[in-house]
């Protein structure tokens, strides 16, 4: 299907790459359909573009790349809500914020996006009773991200199945 976007002009996207956010994203609840766009050479940053609003897009990142110890406790009812039956189908993404002065990226590890790679349903879940911060620094002081993208939990293969690689930035 054709999607109009402000940043990437018009895109032609397979229906089977459309992510369905059941409850939308907090603060943006009326937008339910999104597509994940991976531009070349963007490190670990991915666009989450709203299908129904050309101007609305979030930058997201795989939290396991950012924090190798990320072990969020996901409640059963959240898994049921998205019909998640296998652990391998779980993909987690964190919404990224850009800060200036000083220039830094932070990721929201407290409220990740939980996706089911098998049916592309997703929700933003809020981890209750959690020490994970809403603004977790993506780069530590040594200019490294602390995560390990080769971990099985990172879900990189699943992420590939549900995102669209962009040839042009």
């Amino acid at each position: 299907m054709k999607i109009t976007t402000k940043r990437f002009a018009n895109l032609d996207v397979d229906e089977d790459r459309i992510i369905l956010m059941q409850r939308g994203i907090l603060g943006f609840e009326c937008y339910k359909r999104f597509v994940l766009l991976t531009p070349p050479d963007s490190g670990s940053l991915i666009w989450l573009q709203a299908v129904d609003d050309p101007a609305l897009a979030f930058v997201v990142a795989n939290p396991y790349v950012i924090n190798g110890d990320y072990k969020p406790f996901i409640m059963d009812h959240e898994l049921k809500s998205l019909e998640i039956e296998r652990g391998e189908d779980i993909v987690l993404l964190s919404i990224v914020t850009v800060h200036t002065r000083p220039f830094q990226l932070t990721a929201n590890l407290r409220a990740p996006l939980l996706l089911n790679a098998a049916n592309r349903k997703a929700n933003q879940i809020v981890l209750e009773e959690s020490a994970y911060p809403i603004q977790y620094k993506v780069f530590d002081d040594d200019a490294k991200t602390t995560g390990d993208v080769s971990l099985p939990e990172a879900g990189m293969e699943q992420l590939d199945k549900i995102s669209v690689a962009m040839m042009v930035v």
């Binding site: 907090l26 050479d41 963007s42 490190g43 809500s81 220039f103 780069f139």
Partner: protein, 82 residues
């Protein structure tokens, strides 16, 4: 706002799917149990608001930073290096 007074152990029903029960009172803190239909989320208000605000800030921040993710990522990595 509908105002009700409950004693320990008593409940409030909202619609058919939500039940709120007072489980304990200790000093200034009240333990509240919430039973809600699957699919409904239950959150402490201040956390919910913080997440909403952060989401909105995230969207604005990306627009303000210019939108080339490659540029942003590489600039940050270069900047952080000694």
């Amino acid at each position: 706002m509908l105002i009700l007074t409950r004693k320990l152990g008593e409940s409030i029903l909202i619609g058919d799917d939500i039940k709120i029960t007072i489980l304990g009172i200790k000093g200034k803190q009240i333990r509240i149990g919430v039973e809600a239909a699957t699919g409904m989320t239950v959150h402490r208000e201040e956390i919910y608001r913080l997440i909403q605000e952060q989401n909105k800030q995230a969207v604005k921040s990306v627009e303000a930073a210019g939108e080339n993710l490659s540029t942003i990522w590489n600039k940050l990595r270069r900047q952080s290096l000694p």
